[in-house]
């Protein structure tokens, strides 16, 4: 008997049962549970129970009472998806966000997400299931990195079950290292998927680009027992919002920028977390990686200028002069 078939038969039996079904009776009906030693059978049944629990189907054990023997059942009220009472416009935007993530081709937990959308669509009754749209796309378009989808799915499982992962990594320095990571969280940061966790090689909290990972191997030992705890003060949101100039490269310094008034309305968007003065034309940024800020400023053209400190201003000039000089060189 195939495993899926056995599990589905078991759900059918227990959903239908009027009273708890004793294990002896379950064994009788399922030849799979009748073969082998008592311990082997118990292990098999426990695995099946755990698998069903993962699908949101808890098998309950009831002790014997006057009117019934001890045994298992599935609480029907807890099993079925309840009415969600979503209004049409709430469902429209929720569905849009969900299908936008799927449409991009790579999203952590894409399979879980797909199921969630289909279940909710079902619960809404006879109205047509909205088609997955490509009007909205969240995430990197996966055609650029076909392995991204697979890696994100593995990382999602690892974050969910708190399992350690091993992978080779080629960072900015181009040296390849082997890493063991306790993945705490995953985020889409400015269009790039990152994973943050405890890196055993450096014995510290580190951020990795998912697209720079080589083959990813989750620890498959004891799949249902977590390998690590996530520190209580860990906040993924902080890493998700980190800007290029906020990467911890050196001690923080404050940099002052002058913005052309035309950019003032979007100053907060160009320099998140910065202090805005003079209606957005003067911006004070706390910087832990100077080049990260300088390059953002250069990309914006002549409408932004670094005012202070002199060393950061000099760095901008140095880079601009290098680019200017490149025009004089042979092609």
């Amino acid at each position: 008997m195939e495993r899926t078939e056995r599990l589905l038969d078991l759900v059918a039996l227990l959903l239908d049962a009027q009273e708890p079904v004793p294990f002896a009776q379950i064994r009788e009906h399922f030849p799979d549970y009748a073969e082998g030693s008592a311990e082997a059978v118990e292990r098999k049944f426990e695995r099946d129970k755990a698998e069903l629990a993962e699908l949101g189907i808890p098998l309950q054990y009831r002790n014997a009472e006057e009117e019934h023997a001890s045994g298992y059942l599935i609480d029907r009220d807890a099993y079925y998806l309840p009415e969600l009472h979503l209004r049409a416009e709430e469902w429209a935007v929720l569905h849009a966000a969900g299908s936008a993530a799927l449409a991009s081709g790579a999203f952590p937990g894409a399979r879980d997400l797909g199921h969630a959308l289909r279940k909710i669509a079902f619960a809404r009754g006879q109205e047509p299931v909205p088609q997955f749209t490509d009007q909205l796309l969240i995430g990197e378009v996966a055609r650029e990195d076909p392995k991204l989808r697979e890696r994100l799915e593995l990382l999602w499982d690892a974050v969910k079950l708190r399992k350690r992962v091993g992978f080779s990594y080629r960072g900015f320095s181009q040296t390849e290292t082997l890493r063991e990571l306790d993945p705490y969280g995953i985020a889409l940061r400015r269009g790039v998927w990152i994973v943050v966790g405890h890196d055993h090689l450096r014995d510290a909290l580190r951020t990795f680009h998912v697209s720079r990972m080589g083959e990813l191997k989750p620890n498959t030992k004891k799949p249902r027992s977590p390998d690590f705890e996530v520190p209580a003060d860990f906040e993924m949101a902080r890493f998700a919002q980190e800007q290029a100039w906020e990467h911890a490269v050196h001690e923080p310094i404050d940099v002052e920028l002058r913005l052309d008034p035309s950019l003032a309305p979007i100053a907060g968007r160009l320099f998140p977390h910065a202090q805005l003065e003079d209606a957005g034309t003067r911006v004070r940024v706390r910087v832990r990686f100077v080049d990260g800020l300088v390059r953002q400023v250069l990309a914006l053209g002549a409408r932004v200028e670094i005012v202070a400190p002199e060393s950061v201003r000099a760095r901008a000039i140095e880079l601009l002069q290098a680019l200017e000089a490149s025009f004089g060189e042979a092609r």
Partner: protein, 319 residues
């Protein structure tokens, strides 16, 4: 999740769906389940084997596939799908986070209802997972992405004030928003400019004001493939000479990673990137951002533009 559990999860949804849609075609079923035709057929093969003790003929799921349509006699036990699991709800919340749900808006209310529909024992796991996996990584766009998404989905025109690379003042535009997407770290809006009667691409971070309207529109039946709308110019007219940039060795790996389809390594280790159809604004800012590590090889107009931009910035610093 094991393959057998994943398959079971599909079946627990497939059976009630079939019961609700007697005579559905295999293809329509595959579309509704977001599966391939082969996957659906393989799942359907398993169903007639599923029964309950004592497994007499009447105890099996009654399924017929005839003339490519599927009929299932309703099995009362599987009349509705199972509840959402914590990871299913969390994955949806992680996606919704990109649109920044806020107290009082529809998306926020939807997520609250989602959480309420979870069994109480699963709510803790949901909250934890949803806080650790997120697509909300674009600080500052919060006030734009959600109303934009809503306008796209509800097919309503909107009015924006837009600061283009060249304008000193934001320009007012009335748009039919066709698609919102992110590419290489930037969010874009692909829309019909109603006054100019032409399709245009807008950077979301340059929108200074956004006003949704009640005016309905019908988007084109078929939108370009995701990513293709980035090349409006290339679609309309072949470029005589595509833009070419060369990145130095220090950033060679980054260039290869960022432009996998467009980059090639030269014998000396530098990387040549050819970017047909890219917008001039984006190319100029790309070159400026990589000052010191990049050369603009061509075409001549692009070289001139970057050179002028460099001089303008340097002039500012020399004042």
């Amino acid at each position: 999740m094991s393959d057998s559990a994943e398959r079971l999860r599909r079946l627990l949804l497939l059976v009630p769906y079939l019961a609700q849609h007697p005579g559905i075609s295999v293809d329509a079923l595959a579309a509704a389940m977001n599966l391939s035709r082969e996957e659906v057929l393989s799942d359907l093969e398993l169903l007639p084997l599923v029964g309950r003790p004592p497994f007499t003929p009447g105890d099996y799921i009654d399924l017929t596939v005839e003339d490519d349509t599927v009929t299932l006699t309703l099995d009362q036990r599987f009349s509705r799908p199972p509840r959402l699991t914590a990871p299913e709800a969390a994955a949806l919340a992680a996606a919704a986070a990109a649109l920044d749900p806020h107290e009082g808006d529809g998306l926020h209310r939807a997520l609250q209802k989602l959480e309420q529909a979870l069994p109480p024992s699963a709510r803790g796991a949901y909250k934890t997972l949803a806080s650790r996996v997120t697509a909300a990584g674009d600080a500052g766009l919060e006030d734009l992405l959600r109303p934009l998404a809503e306008s796209v989905v509800r097919k309503r025109e909107l009015v924006i004030e837009y600061l283009s690379a060249t304008s000193q003042e934001p320009q007012r535009r009335t748009l039919q928003p066709w698609r919102v997407f992110s590419h290489r770290g930037l969010w874009y809006l692909y829309a019909l400019d109603v006054d100019k009667k032409a399709e245009r691409l807008f950077r979301v971070d340059r929108i200074t004001r956004l006003t949704p309207t009640a005016e309905r529109f019908e988007p084109p039946a078929k939108l370009p493939q995701p990513g293709e709308e980035l090349l409006p110019r290339a679609r309309k007219e072949a470029e005589a000479e595509p833009p070419v940039l060369r990145f130095g060795k220090r950033v060679a790996a980054l260039a290869l990673e960022r432009f996998p389809g467009e980059a090639s390594r030269e014998p000396d280790g530098r990387v040549r990137v050819t970017l047909p159809g890219a917008t001039t604004e984006w190319l100029v800012s790309l070159a400026l951002a990589h000052a010191g590590d990049v050369e603009v090889l061509g075409p001549a107009e692009l070289r001139a533009l970057v050179q002028a931009a460099v001089r303008a910035q340097l002039a500012g610093y020399r004042r």
